[in-house]
């Protein structure tokens, strides 16, 4: 998994690529938490994410929960295979997916 960020005032775009699984999920969660201060709008670009495991979903859920205290979280460019997982687990209902 690789992470890159783009920050514009209080808007943060995090681009993730690779797999978000048991090994990489804590890394993503920690990374997001580190850069969350003062952010009101966070976007996670998942265009290059091919797989999200349950641990990955947990990390995304945690980021969503943390962000909802101070602003909004959007998920961008989700691949159909990953969207399927979101649909299945019911996350499509709580995440803003664009």
């Amino acid at each position: 998994m690789q992470i890159s960020i783009e920050k514009e005032n209080s808007k943060l775009t995090v681009t993730v690529s690779g797999r978000i699984d048991t090994v990489t999920a804590p890394e993503l969660e920690e990374f997001a938490l580190e850069h969350m201060e003062g952010i009101t709008e966070m976007a996670l670009d998942l265009a290059d994410v091919e797989y999200v495991s349950s641990a990955g979903l947990r990390a995304l859920l945690q980021i969503h929960k943390d962000m909802s205290k101070q602003g909004k979280l959007k998920l961008l460019n989700i691949r159909p295979s990953v969207k399927e997982i979101f649909d299945m687990i019911g996350f499509s209902r709580i995440f803003t997916i664009e």
Binding site: T22, S54, L57, R58, L61, I89, G90, F91, R93, I94
Partner: protein, 553 residues
């Protein structure tokens, strides 16, 4: 310790003996060179003196009259005059003696004396008389004379080092051929000078050399003490301490060596420090190993507790002939987050649970235990699956700081009608086998996983089973079983495998799927928990109850 001091492998011994050997070799070389140079200088200066005397004497001797002197004897006036002149020269120049001799040219063994004067203050020698014949015993002298006689062209005198040059009484003799008018050698004039102070000088030199060696020895003794105190001693202690530590692994007296040599002090300091750290490390390691063992024991107990938290004895309902059920659970680690469950709410209602907690290991297992109990207890109180899950979700979310969630498929099967009322909280869609047909995934409405967010509504859905139909529930560990190239089994393959075993009993269907997974995964380690459950609604009551318990999958 004393024994060590004399060991040949001892550091101090090695250093001292090497230094000693070096000094000795150096002294010997210097002494040899020194004494050679000294001897040569002395020889040359005395040789020069003898040469000068002989050269002067040559002017006094008439080479033409040698035969006449021998014939006339001592009464010859010219001989007497020449003898007087030579005597004066001898005294003035302080030479031992001046003599003129005729050698027997046949073998140079003997000679006849012509002139022979001895210094007035010399007692060792007595002048020989004219015509006296003497025999030479010194071979090197004979050779010199032979050379002189043989070669008429040698104008220069030849220096002959006397015997016993280094003795108490050393002499150097300069020999000049005496020639007659026609240039023929008629006699040999020899001037012998005493090398009086040669011996004293050599002795003096020897004394200096000995003093130097003694001084060197003293320095070595002091140096040895220095080495022993500052190098060999400390190194010996360091070596003994490390040997002891390696054998005993216990804390010893700190070395605390203070040496004039910084490296030695720092080595001792480092050893002390290293020992301390090593002991700490060993202690830690022992503690960690013990802790690991303890955790491992606890985990194996936890594993059994978890296994016992769900029904695991098959056949599950041997008295029921209207359905058959089989389930299988294989955590990726000792304990896992997946679980299945089934139980009769009443005679006509069977509850079926398949769930998957996010993550693996102990946290997932703890979360699994909580949700399992909540679901079972709440289900027994009655209500639809959606109501039950809604309650469980709100309960879990009210205190879920770990942010974990669990996907749950909960169904209540009305055995008499085959109607399943189910609620899918983010779980994989079940596969249903229709009698005479194939296994197919049945997609129903999906609600959010339990624990993700509280206060959300959940929905019921219905699946109608007929006699002879089968229901297959599973967690994502099955379709996402991963081989060593990170390739996943996929839902398609799972359904295909199900269909290869579709006519078989629930137990055999699960065995078939499990074999399929094992073949696909091969040597790769198991990534996720694998859990599955299969239910068959039997065609005719009383025909064939639950399958006899075979070996676990």
């Amino acid at each position: 310790m004393d024994k060590k001091k004399f060991s040949r492998n001892n550091l101090a011994f090695n250093i001292v003996s090497a230094v000693l050997l070096l000094i000795l070799i150096f002294s010997i070389i210097v002494s040899l060179i020194g004494s050679n140079i000294l001897t040569e200088i002395v020889n040359r200066s005395y040789g020069d003196a003898a040469y000068a005397v002989a050269d002067m004497g040559l002017t006094m001797v008439n080479g033409n009259h040698i035969d006449r002197y021998l014939k006339n004897g001592e009464s010859d006036e010219e001989w007497q005059e020449t003898t007087r002149q030579l005597q004066t020269l001898c005294d003035r120049m302080q030479v031992t003696m001046i003599y003129v001799i005729c050698l027997d040219t046949a073998d140079y063994e003997s000679y006849t004396t012509v002139f022979h004067v001895v210094g007035s203050d010399i007692d060792d020698y007595k002048p020989l008389s004219l015509g006296q014949v003497k025999t030479y015993s010194n071979d090197s002298f004979k050779k010199e004379f032979e050379v002189l006689y043989a070669d008429d062209n040698i104008e220069n005198s030849t220096l002959i080092g006397a015997a016993e040059l280094h003795g108490d009484k050393s002499y150097i003799t300069s020999v000049h051929p005496v020639r007659n008018g026609s240039g023929k050698i008629t006699a040999m004039l020899c001037a012998q000078v005493p090398v009086t102070d040669m011996h004293t000088r050599v002795k003096y030199f020897a004394r200096i050399a000995v003093a130097a060696i003694v001084l060197a020895a003293l320095v070595i003794i002091v140096y040895t003490k220095y080495i022993r105190k500052n190098i060999a001693g400390p190194i010996g202690r360091v070596s003994a301490e490390t040997k002891r530590f390696a054998a005993e692994n216990t804390k010893g007296e700190p070395l605390d060596i203070v040496s004039r040599i910084n490296e030695i002090s720092s080595l001792s300091h480092s050893i002390d420090e290293m020992e301390e750290e090593m002991l700490e490390y060993i202690e830690n390691l022992t503690a960690v190993t013990a802790e690991k063992e303890r955790v491992s024991t606890e985990l194996s107990v936890a594993k059994r507790i978890q296994e016992n938290a769900v029904p695991h004895i098959f056949p599950a309902f041997p008295e029921r002939k209207d359905f058959d059920i089989y389930a299988y659970m294989k955590p990726a680690k000792e304990v896992g987050g997946d679980f299945y469950n089934y139980f009769l709410i009443d005679d006509d209602h069977l509850a079926l649970v398949m769930a998957d907690v996010s993550g693996k290991g102990i946290p997932a297992a703890l979360f699994m235990m909580v949700t399992n109990i909540l679901i079972v207890d709440r289900t027994r109180l009655g209500g639809t699956p959606a109501e039950i899950i809604e309650y469980v979700n709100d309960t879990v979310c009210s205190n879920n700081e770990a942010g974990m969630f669990v996907t749950v498929w909960l169904g209540i099967l009305e055995l008499s009608t085959g109607k399943i009322t189910a609620c899918n909280a983010g779980h994989d869609d079940p596969a249903v086998y229709r009698k005479g047909g194939t296994f197919e995934l049945v997609k129903t409405v999906h609600d959010i996983a339990v624990g993700a967010m509280g206060g959300l509504p959940y929905h019921n859905c219905e699946i109608q089973l007929n006699k002879g139909d089968k229901l297959f529930l599973y967690t994502d560990g099955v379709p996402e079983a991963t081989d060593k190239d990170m390739k996943m089994l996929s839902l398609g393959t799972m359904v295909d495998t199900l269909n290869r075993h579709k006519e078989e009993t629930p137990q055999k269907i699960l065995a078939g799927i499990n074999n399929g997974i094992n073949e696909f995964v091969a040597d790769a380690p198991q990534f996720d928990d694998i859990t599955m459950l299969c239910l068959e609604l039997k065609e005719a009551e009383g025909k064939n109850g639950g399958m006899p318990a075979e070996d676990a999958l």
